[in-house]
Symmetry: C2
Subunit: 86 residues, 2 copies
Amino acid sequence: MYSAKIKVTLRRSILDPQGKAVEHSFQSLGYDKIKDTRIGKFIELKIDASSETEAKKMTDEVCGKLLANPVMEDYEYEITSLNGDK
Amino acid sequence: MYSAKIKVTLRRSILDPQGKAVEHSFQSLGYDKIKDTRIGKFIELKIDASSETEAKKMTDEVCGKLLANPVMEDYEYEITSLNGDK
């Protein structure tokens, strides 16, 4: 069993209105030293794969097909082995 | 200048309907080896702080006040120094 932790972020060139709104709230609260706020998704899942290679392959596939929009978003992930599988 | 990368996740005891919906889609696509899908937020921001301690303090404050719901969510973050500040 493997655990995948995936970060999906908007590409730098794409405007992030949600991040802008949060940044505006920071400023209203007096945190004017915070900037470049960008909001993305964080996805955790468990994969019952027989090898780390298979787990990586499956993670790449679901990121490309479902979790990230390949036109607007980038993703990165970490795979860790649970219960000592290799 | 420091960069903060924050992960906000729903507590384990809280039902995650968005994660369940995504998991259902995985199964429709034939990925039936994926389970325990949980969806959270990933936030990146830059902090113009004079020390890493100040950057951490500010990150903790904005997470507690704005980014995470302390009743339902947990957060963790990493602070990294940009342009070689300590």
